[in-house]
């Protein structure tokens, strides 16, 4: 009797009169069950398409509207500062979180004793579980006031550089503070992903490097980093995707305003924060404008995520890690 694992045949045993055969199930139910699970899978694709379609449908009025109905006269003029503001905040977050995240991942995978590294893993998961609104509240009421002297110092001594041009904000609610809070929030993403890849580095390679007399750092540079390079890049891209779309940390921390070059003055605005601040009171063409802004954010994060996933999947094919 040949039973393929794909399509098991029913109870075709010659002694089918015996009562103790297991309840094998209704043959028709097989088709129904596979149909339902297929439908669920397709539904997910439909939802993703629907996200794009409904956003486009609701955003369309913006492109046909009279210019005096729009808040800035033209949609491009409206969207441009948001793009720049979002990119600045995310860039600050990445600059801060990437080295620290990789460092902590290395600490967990290669430096800490086993017991401690497990505990640190839990702690990092804990950091990832804290809701963003709490980080936002913390940034606004704890970090922002404490960081003002530092901004004053920057403005005094580095004020000649445009990004540190004074006078510094006296509430500390600037794009730099928002970027720092964002960096803290994306740190667990980078750490968790890098740690997973670092521990997969072939042990034989590491031992070979150590056996040839390499110090620990040389071993990491020669075996761990080459193995994990693509993984690090894709974890950073995923963290970037998160930072681009993060709302609350920016909304609560940033005193938003028009685009300014200085990072330590209040001003600038990001997509997500702009939408969250204005959507509850918006109606008519203003609502469409915000949804259109959301659409642009959606497209940007989609591109970032697709690139990250493409790097990861290509890496899977060649590394043989799985």
């Amino acid at each position: 009797m040949s039973i393929s694992s794909d399509a098991p045949t029913g109870p075709s045993s010659p002694k089918s009169s015996r009562k103790e055969l297991p309840d094998v199930g209704n043959p028709a139910a097989d088709k129904i069950f596979s149909g339902i699970s297929l439908a669920a899978g397709i539904l997910i694709l439909v939802v993703l398409a629907a996200v794009a379609i409904f956003l486009v449908a609701q955003a369309l009025p913006v492109f046909t509207a009279d210019s005096e109905d729009l808040s800035q006269g033209s949609f491009l003029k409206y969207i441009y500062p948001l793009v720049i503001g979002t990119l600045i905040a995310s860039a600050i977050a990445l600059l801060l979180a990437t080295p620290v995240g990789i460092g902590v991942a290395l600490y967990i995978s290669h430096y800490a004793p086993k017991k401690i590294s497990q505990a640190v893993g839990y702690v990092i998961d804990l950091l990832a579980a804290i809701p963003s609104v709490i980080f936002g509240a913390w940034g606004a009421s704890v970090l922002a006031p404490k960081i003002v002297p530092f901004y004053d110092w920057l403005a005094t001594y580095f004020g000649f550089i445009p990004i540190f041009e004074g006078p510094a904000s006296q509430t500390g609610k600037t794009i730099l503070t928002a970027g720092i809070v964002l960096g803290i929030m994306i740190l667990p993403i980078i750490t968790a992903m890098c740690r997973e890849i670092f521990v997969q580095t072939p042990l034989l390679q590491q031992e070979a490097a150590l056996g040839l007399g390499a110090t620990r750092w040389e071993m990491i540079r020669m075996t761990v980093f080459p193995f994990a390079r693509t993984g690090i890049v894709s974890s950073v891209m995923l963290a970037l995707g998160r930072a681009l779309g993060e709302t609350m940390a920016v909304t609560l921390v940033l005193a938003s305003g028009p685009l300014t070059a200085s990072l330590i003055k209040s001003g600038n605005q990001t997509f997500a924060s702009e939408i969250a601040l204005n959507f509850p009171e918006a109606y008519g063409i203003r609502m469409s404008e915000l949804i259109a802004a959301g659409l642009v954010l959606f497209v940007i994060t989609l591109v970032v995520n697709v690139i990250a996933r493409m790097i990861t999947s290509r890496y899977k094919e060649f590394s043989g890690a799985n």
Partner: protein, 366 residues
């Protein structure tokens, strides 16, 4: 360097003595305090100066005694330890602030009343010590629980069935690959975009451009929750040993019944803990609720009609628009107490997820 006297062992010659690095650390702490005192002493600048001094000086000394390679090695080691400490600071600070600011506001009154009828007058009185702090988070807790429950009811069946399709039926087909890819992409949808999607979906289907109910919020949260559930359940189903399936097929059991009676029960602990983690993730979402459920100050039990409040939006509005602008600290007290409750809920969910995964895991040993 082996020309030294017989007193020093050859094995340890050329190495920095063990006390050297701690001694440099002590020196860095003292010198850091002195430098920091020069520009106006504070714990923050002290820590920064001491840390910088240590990370620069200690490797330099090591490299002078033991050579450049050892110096680079210790430099990286101190940097890695430093990164770890730097990462811990915000976590400790957040938890400390939530505890120290949240506990004073936590009371039975907070947990059992809504904000209905609470006005700036009450808050001003409370700020002057002339009355108790009125108002609470009862309505927000109800909203949070109902919206999250609805989102779970929507996303778990869809997510679980999709993962079953991917593992049991798709067999690396093009559709399966496409679904896997787009589920991954969906993980990265910004939460506010999910909220906008749900808002515009209901705006177009109901005809009311500002249709906001608990259901709309639940749909928005489902968009965020489904990919997490799929990814997790898929992983759990994949580690179910194939022998179990084959044993069931060999008894003539049909595929759907094998899945329902053998595969899912084997993986159920992993799936349940994954679902709990997904709930913990969406329960703290603020942005999608802001644009889909509106905000109220009174209790609304009906998730299918009328605006609702949740804990995250409660925190947000108490901070952004204090009930009494002149006594904002009262609103802040309530916000931090709500934050404490929210963090406790999220941590409990995480603990439950770990407990489920640990205690209900299938016995693998024979």
């Amino acid at each position: 360097m082996s020309s030294s006297t017989a007193v020093t062992s050859r094995l340890t010659s050329g190495q920095a003595p063990k006390w050297l690095v701690p001694a440099i650390g002590l020196g860095a702490v003292v010198l850091g305090a002195a430098l920091s005192a020069l520009i106006g002493f504070s714990i923050g600048t002290w820590a920064i100066f001491a840390g910088l001094l240590f990370v620069i000086v200690a490797p330099l000394v090591v490299s002078m005694i033991e050579g450049r390679r050892k110096g680079a090695d210790s430099f990286v080691r101190f940097l890695v330890y430093g990164a770890f400490i730097v990462a811990l600071i915000p976590l400790v600070s957040v938890i400390w602030v939530v505890l120290s600011k949240g506990i004073p506001g936590l009371s039975m009154n907070l947990l059992s009343t809504s904000m209905r009828g609470v006005t700036g007058v009450h808050d001003n009185a409370a700020a002057e010590g002339a009355g108790p702090i009125y108002g609470g988070i009862y309505h927000a807790i109800i909203g949070t629980l109902e919206i999250t429950l609805l989102a779970t009811l929507i996303s778990v069946p869809i997510g679980l069935l999709t993962s079953i399709y991917l593992v049991e039926y798709a067999k690396n087909g093009p559709l399966g690959k496409a679904i896997t890819f787009f589920v991954d992409v969906m993980t990265g949808i910004p939460s506010i975009v999910a909220g906008l999607f749900a808002a515009s979906f209901f705006a177009l289907t109901t005809g009311d451009p500002s249709e906001r109910t608990g259901l709309v919020a639940a749909v928005a949260l489902s968009v965020l929750m489904i990919p997490t559930v799929v990814r997790n359940a898929e992983e759990m189903l994949r580690i179910v040993p194939n022998e179990l399936r084959e044993a069931s097929y060999a008894l003539g059991v049909r595929k759907w019944r094998t899945i329902v009676k053998v595969v899912i029960p084997t993986a159920i602990s992993g799936i349940a803990s994954g679902v709990t983690l997904a709930i913990a993730r969406v329960i703290g979402e603020t942005a999608p609720i802001l644009v889909t459920a509106g905000f109220v100050t009174s209790i609304n039990w009906n998730a299918f009609s009328g605006w609702m409040a949740t804990l995250p939006t409660y925190i947000y509005y108490q901070i952004m628009t204090p009930t009494s602008p002149t006594a904002a600290s009262i609103s802040e007290t309530r916000a931090w107490a709500a934050a404490l409750v929210l963090i406790i809920i999220v941590m409990l969910l995480n603990l439950i997820a770990r407990a489920i995964a640990k205690f209900f895991a299938p016995k693998t040993g024979r």
